[in-house]
Symmetry: C2
Subunit: 521 residues, 2 copies
């Protein structure tokens, strides 16, 4: 039997009892019609390895796993749940469907790790230890960011990543869809965004260098994109697992792939190519009405695809070189009564802040959107340390913490020379586990503006899914616990010991976490 | 509604009627207990995209998809089935469960391509055109070979590949598990096989060269292996989909990874490393009793894991250099009364032929096992053209056709300079579709010895799953039709036109088939 102490993340309250519930061919799932799809998902998670039918019924006859909505559990919030296992029954209650989904993940972790196999396993007793759990997350925003611009990641990997987020009760998938190096989402009105913008001639490889003469390249083209039907599939798949997909369309910097497709979006009108190396370039969007209309059209399609309340517009790393040199940009500064190019960027972001607000959405941007004045409805994602987040929260804005130290998962996990070469920096598993999303500088109202945090996966030096998994895991496991569990339960030694069994689960799921395989040298 | 003419492979008999059956929330699956798991698999294939509950019941109430065993369909063989769709009912009959599995794949292809999505799709009418189909395969052995020795392929990719084989009614997965460049299957008695043999320091990259001074390398270590539990999962997953997994343990050549792990298996006793480049080397297994016992131990574990009647022992490309120079090998030739080193290889293979036969299994080997005398129970896999297969079939042995032209899918699909660099050679989609597995030289009894054929995926120049998919598809689609459909239905123009819709299916399944994405240049 699996010790309940191997759960990740730790539930808010857990009491162990004696005895266990054992899944058998007679075990039924019972659920009201309104929880039918949650019951089906749970069955799909339990059936492949057990080979048991786990019929779904409206009411129980004998041993069952019962799902139910219970308004009295509103005290546990939108995502909380109650899970009770006795030798006779497993009962899952929550005030909303999302709680049922999280409880199902806890239930999976209470079973032997073989439950994660995709075909029947012989000789395993499918016992669930008797427990009483009441659980709820500490933060509402528990995110995983993935950059598919630098390296395109296949849809199948995105779906697998969503399964892993669900397993860890992470609930926001931040999909960084556009970059200098590639535009990854089909936009019907502007087909060249993917016909041209999704492809580049080559890709820079490690080691990182800022000296153009020292750059090395893979020597082959790279690209790919998601059709709108693919995006719908990903969004629905995520929603079924309690995850919101946050799309990011980068502007006004990091948009060279769009400019390569439609040169009139730039400042010079001159043709450029989709970028093949990493870093920050001077080529940014122009500020003409045509650019605003173009991206409004893009967002029209994006809003149709993504029900997320939040929409990310990037806003980071936008050099002002071209705007200083471009008469149209200077004219815009004058006509709008702006002080300088910083305010011009702020004007640009404010435009989309109010455009999105009129459509019932809220803008999110990286912390550079503070420069030149923060748009009134904006939520800030604080990546250059915590100061941007602190300032925004103090000013009454919502904040998502994403500081490079320790939430940038493109930094290496150890300082060993055997780590794959990458972007530099170092965030250990222990660093991530020790992270406290609410800075000391914030309390009361300011602290409440910290919605949560997320782990960032920038893929300059991650050419394929297996490398992404190497960098992401198990650090995202640590972050999941930081964001879900009560802070007083935080204990790295306990985490490390629980992680052992959890890594078995990840290995069965064929996750290439750091440490799974080790070459003999 | 999907035209029934888009089916791949073509059914033996198809009659279209008017009208259609439409899946709704009321649609039930009915199946006797003995077909319960086939019903569950079908539900798992229909539910994600439709979002419909598709409850499974023992008997029908209203509109249903019914599965049933019917002894009178024994005339359609072990894999044949009858599928009848009317506006009121879908009925699937077969004499064995495998036929039900194949019929389910046909049913999926009769639905709109969106049925292959993994989350609910809005706005699609899930209509199945009325048809009467009676179907059975032309050949019993319809295979796909995958070399995971040259490049390790993650378990998740193997499972996906099995799903694709099932979609194409291919029924043998030939898993090439050991090579000079890597040993990929955990053997409990000999842990160094994977601790040492599964890892190499580097990997040769394209372009191919036989000049050691011109070889280029990736510059990073490579490796990986499957645990025995992983293997069990793959084998069961395949079996649920009507697919037999044929394991290959290479001997006496292509075994350097094993020798690197246990130098006493070689002829020199000297330590060697797991090979980092491609080709044929002089380092082969020794012929001492210790080597026979070692591989008997290995096969003891392999037979436990793989229920397949057939077991592949390799037998190809074994240079005799070391045996000529090794006193122990020369002594074995003398003591066994053998003529030369060719007969020594034959003696080696015969040993395992009879060892396997005593355990109720049958040995398969590449066509070099003909040299020096074919072992009495051996089945020959004919790869160096068809002559080996013809000779073996005439001598009364069973044969599986795997000739380089046109079943080697590591050869490029076109002669365009834009194809990724690889091993050389060229087998077009049309070549594969035109392939006739029974050579003109064989008829009657000889022709009956041709069990079927298979496509070979050697991965020297396929470093990852996406490259494998690029090389495999859609050529395996063409081969599937060759091996399943009646030869009189063969028509490349028809295939090409049906392929269009089929590629939509493959794109939805995120298969990187050749032609799916095209960079602009």
């Amino acid at each position: 039997m699996v010790p309940p102490t191997a759960l990740i993340p730790i539930p808010a309250q857990l009491t162990s009892r004696s005895g266990a519930f054992v899944l058998t061919a007679a075990t039924q799932l019972t659920a009201p019609d309104i929880l039918r799809s949650q019951a089906e998902l749970l069955r799909d998670q339990l059936r492949p390895a057990t080979g048991l039918p786990l019929a779904i019924a409206a009411s129980a006859r004998g041993a069952c796993i019962s799902l139910a909505l219970d308004a009295s559990l509103a005290r546990l919030g939108d995502e909380g749940y109650r899970l009770e296992v006795t030798p006779d029954e497993v009962s899952i209650h929550a005030s909303r469907a999302t709680g049922i989904i999280h409880a199902s993940q806890t239930l999976r972790q209470l079973l032997p790790t073989a439950i994660f196999r995709r075909a029947p396993v012989s000789g395993v007793a499918w016992a669930i230890p008797s427990v009483e759990i009441e659980d709820r997350p500490r933060f509402a925003w528990r995110g995983s960011h993935l950059d598919v611009g630098r390296h395109f990641m296949p849809k199948e990997f995105v779906l697998k990543h969503l399964d892993l987020l669900a397993l860890h009760k992470l609930n926001v998938f931040h999909w960084h869809l556009t970059e200098d190096q590639g535009w990854r989402i089909e936009i019907k009105k502007y087909p060249r965004l993917t016909e041209v913008g999704a492809w580049r001639k080559d890709s820079m490889t490690a080691p990182r260098t800022k000296d153009p003469t020292l750059r090395k390249f893979a020597g082959k083209p790279h690209g790919g994109f998601y059709t709108q039907d693919d995006v719908r599939e990903v969004v629905r798949y995520a929603a079924e697992r309690g995850i919101t997909v946050l799309p990011e369309i980068e502007m006004p910097g990091h948009a060279m792939a769009a400019i390569a497709a439609y040169p009139e979006l730039g400042n010079t009108g001159k043709p450029i190519e989709v970028l093949t190396y990493w870093g920050i370039t001077d080529h940014v969007l122009g500020v003409g009405d045509n650019v605003l209309r173009f991206f409004e059209d893009v967002f029209d399609e994006v809003l149709e695809l993504f029900p997320s309340k939040f929409i990310h517009v990037g806003g980071d790393e936008c050099p002002k070189v071209e705007w200083r040199q471009t008469p149209a940009a200077q004219a815009r500064i004058k006509s709008e009564g702006l002080k300088d190019e910083d305010e011009l960027q702020s004007w640009f972001i404010r435009h989309f802040d109010s455009w999105l607000a009129r459509r019932g959405r809220r803008l999110v941007g990286w912390d550079e959107i503070l420069e030149g004045g923060l748009a009134p409805g904006a939520t800030v994602m604080s990546w250059r340390g915590e100061q941007g987040g602190i300032a925004a929260a103090k000013a009454g804005h919502d904040v998502v913490m994403a500081p490079q130290k320790p939430t940038y998962l493109d930094h290496s996990q150890t300082e060993l020379p055997t780590e794959p070469a990458g972007i530099g920096g170092h965030n250990s598993l222990e660093d991530v586990y020790a992270y406290e999303p609410v800075p000391k500088e914030l309390n009361g109202e300011g602290a409440r503006h910290v919605l949560g945090a997320q782990g960032q996966i920038w893929t300059e030096y991650m050419p394929d899914p297996k490398r992404v998994e190497y960098m992401a895991w198990p650090r995202l496991t640590a972050l999941a616990e930081v964001l879900w569990s009560p802070p007083e339960t935080r204990d790295f030694a306990s985490f490390k010991s629980r992680l052992e069994m959890h890594l078995e689960r990840l290995a069965i799921l064929d996750v290439n976490y750091r440490g799974r395989f080790r070459p003999p040298d």
